[in-house]
């Protein structure tokens, strides 16, 4: 007998969710293993041994700190630039705006390897390969379209008359930006910053090109560790990265839906 149509969709949805989430969840039991091998352990024997390793071994710790530092700075640069681009492009003629928007969002569509090769060629001339500044610039380029898109979406939802009203009520352009525009697009700015942070923190390809023995990010350390040995610290790092990503993305999505709930009119 055919299963009732009503049940097909939920079953499919659950299967899909499991398929997506299972590989991510699989690293958790590995990360808590008490042994030195990549074994899935049972919860009774779980130990924080590999997390301690992650946070005490200078090789792992340095790469983790580098990753955090680069991601924070890249997110900052990307968010400032993306917000300014989104604000500025509102006042530009339509044809120019379309071209500029396409340019800003291009890094999202170009294969990362292409971008990485190009960046490497440019940064090696300026001697920025293997430096935090080089990483920040490269990763900011990836975060820029994300910040630009989320801020643009917030701006599109902003009623133009609000700025006019503010001007008419006695506020200059700067005060209007500070008291009306920025507070109202803040959720978009925050969401953009969080997305840019995650993208930088998780990035492997460009980091592979720009890294040096003295400056490696966590994903690169994980990758090289995997190719060398079966150190369960990788699983601990992976769990850490996954948790950070999920939490950050959740905040980003919450920020975007907060705007929708609180700032749209009822009628």
């Amino acid at each position: 007998m055919m299963p009732h149509r009503r049940h097909v969709l939920p079953v499919f949805a659950v299967l899909l969710a499991v398929t997506i989430v299972l590989p991510i969840l699989a690293v958790i039991p590995v990360s808590f293993t008490p042994t030195s091998s990549f074994a899935i352990s049972s919860p009774e024997s779980w130990s924080p041994r590999w997390y301690r390793e992650l946070l005490t071994n200078p090789v792992w710790l340095d790469s983790l700190v580098s990753s955090l530092r680069i991601a924070l700075l890249a997110a900052l640069v990307a968010t400032v630039a993306g917000t300014m681009a989104a604000l500025g492009l509102r006042r530009v003629r339509r044809t120019h705006r379309v071209v500029a928007r396409a340019l800003v969002t291009l890094p999202l569509l170009i294969p990362l390897v292409v971008l990485a090769v190009g960046l490497y060629a440019m940064l090696i001339r300026t001697q920025l390969v293997g430096t935090t500044a080089g990483f920040v610039l490269a990763h900011a380029l990836l975060g820029l379209p994300l910040a630009f898109i989320t801020v643009s979406a917030s701006l599109d939802a902003l009623d133009d008359n609000l700025e006019q009203a503010s001007r008419g009520l006695g506020a200059g352009p700067v005060t209007t930006m500070r008291l009306i525009v920025l507070p109202l697009v803040a959720p978009g700015v925050i969401a953009g910053a969080l997305f840019a942070f995650v993208v930088s923190f998780n990035e492997v390809v460009i980091a592979g090109f720009l890294g040096s023995p003295y400056l490696r990010t966590l994903p690169i350390e994980m990758y090289s560790s995997m190719t060398r040995s079966t150190d369960p610290t990788v699983a601990a790092a992976a769990t850490f990265v996954a948790a950070l990503t999920v939490i950050t993305a959740a905040f980003a999505l919450a920020a975007m839906s907060w705007r929708r709930r609180h700032l749209t009119r009822k009628d």
Binding site: Q164, A165, G168, R265
Partner: protein
Amino acid sequence: MQDLAQRGASIDLDGVHLSYGDTAVLRDIDLRIKGGEFMTLLGPSGSGKSTLLNLMGGFARANAGEVRVNGAQIDHLPPNRRDMGMVYQNYALFPHMTIADNIAYPLKRRKMSKSDRAALVRAALAMVDLHGFADRRPSQLSGGQQQRVAVARAIVFRPQILLMDEPLGALDKRLRDEMQSELRQLHEEVGSTVVFVTHDQEEAMVMSDRIAVMNGGRVEQVGTPHELYSRPRTTFVATFLGESTMLRGTVHAVGGQSIFHYRDTRVPVDGHDVTGSGTLLLRPEQIELSEDKPLRSTNVLEVRIENVESLGPTRRTKVTLPDGASGIVREPGSKTSRLRPGDTAWMSWQVGASWVVPEAQEECPHE
């Protein structure tokens, strides 16, 4: 309680011209708005009325001409230094601020002390009947309440001029009627000059001291509602403000008197400097219909009844004129009539009711 009363400022526009690229939006506008006056800019969409309002507020820049407030030129002033209250159709309340903060916004920009601010906000809220709403958010208020807040915010800093861009356009009919009289009353109380934009001729007639009828970027005519209704200078103004029957003919001067010719009918029209082709305009309530030919021979036309609508107090009859155009007659509902669609009847009117409009150079579409 703080007093929000104010002496309204006069606004003068001289030869104002504004175009975007090749499109002229405002053409050569001269307009004098008296201090304390309720002036409505009335016109169809695209007539330039909102642009003209934005120009006064400093949100649009004229290519030529000048704007003066109380005689002083203000074209160079940015919007924030013009001291005009503005109300928008979609309210434009700041969604992230409470009602009190919205209303205090213009006061804070003017560096007013906290206690003065609080007193003025209270006075403004009282004026629009919204005490007790100070701590709510705009999204928690109904459309009518939001518009009241917007009005309070626009008057709280005692501007001499209030600009209103279709402020009642988003409200339903009942609420709109209510707000019309409230705004009228508010205007009496605060005394500011009000420039009010609308495309609704009834609203314009009810609210305004004077109306400037706009069409295609020009001011077609300025006058009191009564002047515009009974003495329109163009057919556009005539059709935009109410229904009318139009007889297209010619005016000849005969021995010091003007005679309007329409087919075989001759109507003396006095006090007109129109000669050549023109349109005799009759408002629906000025026309009488009868089944038999009236005794007098002038001011009488044979018409065919197209349809009859009974509207309770009045009866509205659509007729076909001898030249095929249609006319509208409105008679008291109490008057008995046996006229049915297809019947032939006679329409007549008082000579004094005749008003001739010169032939329009260009026929302008309207809504």
